[in-house]
């Protein structure tokens, strides 16, 4: 099959998803894409073409002279003020970016929201925002967004939400590769239109703090080793992403970095209704429990496991390095 022609535009975001993409786990980034049949029509950080040449390319996409296979949008769509879109004009055109995006989405085979800003509005759409920011097909968790809930791209798919703040480079590359080889269908998207290959996982899976979680041995301040769910606002048991099994930048993740998962792949994460680094509780019990666990069970298990916490786990939970190592037994393991 021929190349998958990808056009990438940025709107109300920080550019971090583009920068993240360059961290994809490969010794030859350009070859990874090229050998997968992925060809940039234009990417703002990587392409030589500037100014007039870019505008001509956009017109060619709209006229059909240039096939547009994938339209990738990074950043929120800024509809303000008063729906005019003037908070972001595409440079050199005097035309709001939201107008360009609407028209280009109309001719694209696939439309991909790269990152949580483009998917849901993200941090750009945080409470008090003046920019009327939204995602391509959602505004937080409400379907609609810039293109409307009924939108389907040329190939019949809704917007593909590769959410995350930033999004993981592997999620983007895998999505583009799946589109290039024709293996991504509507069934491969979850109820929020995220690719299931990463959204069917939880951040909790593979968390190095799982032993602390089991015993509810909790961190009390930044740099503590314990579980961050009870006091530090961690949402790893509820957040859909594979961050602790598909690591970031070689060997990292938020929880491995010593800070709470803020569930940045979920709509509305930017306004959790509490401080990011605190766990809201009722009668001492966290409100945000694992979604598929009955509360009574959680309370019962937590009190049992707390009473059974080994001294090693309890001590290390509030230290920044291992204070009590596992016992080296004198007898062989059985």
């Amino acid at each position: 099959m021929g190349s998958l022609h990808v056009l990438w535009l940025q709107s109300g975001g920080c550019g971090g998803c583009s920068m993240s993409l360059l961290n994809a786990d490969t010794p030859d980034w350009a070859a990874t894409l090229r050998t997968s049949g992925i060809e940039w029509l234009w990417h703002p950080s990587l392409s030589l073409a500037s100014g007039e040449a870019v505008l001509q390319m956009l017109e060619d996409c709209l006229s059909g002279a240039q096939p547009l296979d994938v339209l990738c949008i990074e950043g929120a769509l800024l509809r303000g003020p008063q729906g005019s879109g003037r908070f972001h004009l595409l440079a050199g055109t005097g035309v709001p970016m939201i107008s360009w995006v609407r028209r280009l989405a109309g001719v694209a085979r696939y439309v991909v929201a790269v990152g949580s800003c483009a998917a849901w509005g993200g941090v750009s759409g945080a409470r008090n925002h003046a920019t009327e920011a939204c995602g391509l097909q959602f505004e937080d968790d409400q379907p609609g967004g810039l293109l409307g809930a009924a939108f389907r791209s040329g190939a019949g798919l809704p917007v593909i939400n590769v959410a995350g703040c930033p999004t993981h480079p592997g999620w983007v590359i895998d999505s583009l590769m799946a589109l290039a080889d024709g293996s991504l269908s509507a069934d491969d998207l979850d109820s929020l239109q995220r690719p299931r290959f990463y959204a069917d996982q939880l951040v909790h899976h593979g968390c190095t703090r799982n032993e602390f979680y089991e015993f509810k041995a909790s961190a009390e301040q930044p740099s503590d080793l314990g579980c961050m769910m009870e006091h530090m606002g961690c949402k790893g048991t509820q957040a859909h992403a594979d961050c602790n099994t598909r690591l970031w930048n070689g060997e990292g993740s938020c929880t491995r970095g010593g800070y709470a998962c803020i569930s940045c792949t979920e709509p509305g994460f930017q306004d959790p209704g509490h401080a990011f680094d605190a766990t809201p509780k009722v009668a001492g019990i966290p409100i945000g429990l694992p979604t598929d666990m009955p509360k009574a069970w959680f309370v019962a298990l937590a009190s049992l496991s707390k009473s059974a916490t080994p001294r090693r786990v309890k001590t290390n939970a509030t230290a920044d390095h291992i204070v009590v190592p596992p016992v080296a037994r004198k007898t062989r393991l059985k």
Binding site: L41, S223, C243
Partner: protein, 498 residues
């Protein structure tokens, strides 16, 4: 000549910068007569932050920018630490410096290979003797089958380099391990060694491909004459010397003169107090010796006269700053305010840091040739050669099992300021809170200084003035000289339009 370019040119979208940029040029007789620089987007972070819990700033603020997010984090953490009166322990300070240096050096690398050098592969230069070699090394990665070999190698080196951030900060961009009291991620003994090996990998790339020389030899070049001798000895060997070859041929040192005044807030605080790169305001009027003095942060103002932002009350210090959109304002042409120091235009960036720190080569080059396209690029590359060995020392000074974090207790009310140096230059955050909720948050980013619009006095910003005199060749709609000048500042527009 009837085809000498004259008239108005609107240049955009301007890519291989971070974010959205448009430049409006008045061209007369084949030269830029005047320029207006427009940041074409408004995001409104200064409105998003008030009302939130104070520490939420540590989550929200890095998301101003995906290219210098650690610098934004450091500025925020330092502003909170300022108000709380907390200091990171030595390990924590080293960890923060390693993260910020990792990001800053990666930015210099990306800038050179991915953003700046590809312009030398444009067909307009196809008749130059160096052009095929420029294409082989530096062709852009974003289109077609021709992709520069060295650009590909640099991207691979960058990917490995950012694994430092995987360990030190959990992920990049948008780590949250940067805290007022240090780092939330302690490094153990084996990790310290693994990080050291990654510093050595980057050293190997720089010493083989970029410099083709030991870092210490580059940092030891004392003056413009020594640089010229080193260059002449093997003018194609390594990308720095090849760049100097191209720059000589194109007379790039004649392009893009800065305002003759630079500002650095200083970088990388050390546990025993002091900064690894000193702060300073430097003046270098032509034909006079360069002068240095300590910057006075009280003299910073932001002027919104030509921004689509409310400007009642005139220029304000950022501690009293206001950022409210006013989209129909007459005479406005950018979302960027105009920061000024004592009412004057300054340039910021690696060149400002190296001048403030008294680095001999950059000082001599600027005294001889001013701040311009070549000296800006050179300052970044010198910074790569100087800061990587510093990182080796900081990492070597980390003591496993000693603390990385000092607990802080933020007061219910507070006011603080956080100054630091992002790759592109001076970054400041000004914060105030009451009852544990943010009341006021203002950010003055490096590109806000460099790419500012005119102020109330009509003074053009640093880039606006630097573009005057740039050649526009017949038929050019996106003049290549303008591109070299704009990219020599390595703008970060998303920081600017926070």
């Amino acid at each position: 000549m009837s085809n000498t370019p004259t008239g108005r040119l609107l240049v955009g979208p301007f890519n291989r910068v971070e974010g959205d940029l448009e430049v409006q040029l008045q061209v007369a007789d084949g030269r830029v007569a005047s320029a207006q620089v427009n940041a074409t987007m408004y995001r409104g972070f200064e409105q998003l932050l008030p009302g939130r819990a104070v520490r939420d700033a540590l989550v929200v603020v890095p998301r101003i920018c995906g290219i210098c997010s650690v610098s934004q984090s450091v500025a925020a953490a330092r502003a909170l630490a300022d108000a709380a009166g907390v200091t990171p322990p030595p390990n924590g300070q080293h960890a923060l410096n390693l993260m910020q240096a990792c990001e800053n050096l990666a930015d210099h690398l990306s800038h050179f290979y991915l953003f700046f050098a590809p312009d030398f592969t444009r067909p307009i230069y196809a008749d130059r003797p160096w052009w095929p070699e420029a294409v082989r090394r530096w062709a852009a990665l974003g289109a077609g089958v021709t992709q520069g070999e060295h650009a590909r190698q640099a991207l691979a080196a960058r990917q490995r380099w950012f694994t430092l951030m995987g360990t030190l900060g959990g992920k990049w961009p948008h780590t949250q391990s940067v805290q007022p009291g240090g780092s939330s991620r302690a490094i153990d003994a084996a990790e310290r060694l693994r990080l050291m090996s990654k510093l050595r990998e980057m050293r190997a790339f720089l010493e083989s491909t970029l410099f083709a020389a030991p870092l210490e030899d580059i940092a030891a070049l004392r003056d413009a004459a020594a640089l010229a001798r080193w260059h002449a000895a093997d003018p194609l060997r390594g990308d720095l010397r090849f760049f100097l070859t191209v720059a000589d041929d194109l007379a790039l040192a004649q392009l893009g003169a800065g305002p003759g005044r630079t500002l650095s807030w200083g970088a990388y605080p050390q546990p025993d107090a002091g900064l690894a790169l000193a702060a300073g305001v430097c003046e270098h009027p032509s034909a006079s010796p360069l002068t240095r003095q300590a910057p006075d942060v009280r003299l910073v103002t932001e002027d919104a006269t030509h921004a689509w932002l409310a400007d009642s009350g005139g220029p304000r210090h950022p501690a009293q700053g206001v950022t409210l959109p006013d989209v129909d304002k007459p005479a406005a042409y950018s979302w960027n305010k105009a920061p000024r120091l004592d009412g004057r235009v300054v340039e910021t960036g690696a060149i400002a840091r190296q001048l403030a720190d008294g680095q001999p080569l950059i000082t001599d080059v600027v005294q001889c040739h001013g701040s311009q396209v070549v000296s800006r690029v050179l300052a970044r590359l010198i910074e790569l050669a100087r800061v990587l060995p510093m990182m080796e020392r900081w990492l070597g000074a980390i003591v496993p099992r000693e603390p990385f974090y000092t607990p802080d207790s933020l007061p219910d009310e507070g006011e603080g300021m956080g100054l630091t140096e992002a790759a592109r230059g001076a970054l400041g955050h000004w914060v105030r809170w009451r009852n544990g909720r943010l009341l006021h948050y203002q950010i003055v980013a490096p590109t806000s200084w460099n790419f500012s619009p005119r102020d109330a006095q009509g003074q053009p910003g640093a880039l606006e003035a630097a573009l005057v005199g740039a050649p526009v060749y017949p038929g050019e709609r996106t003049p290549v000289a303008v591109q070299h000048i704009v990219r020599s500042f390595d703008p970060c527009m998303v920081c600017t339009v926070h």
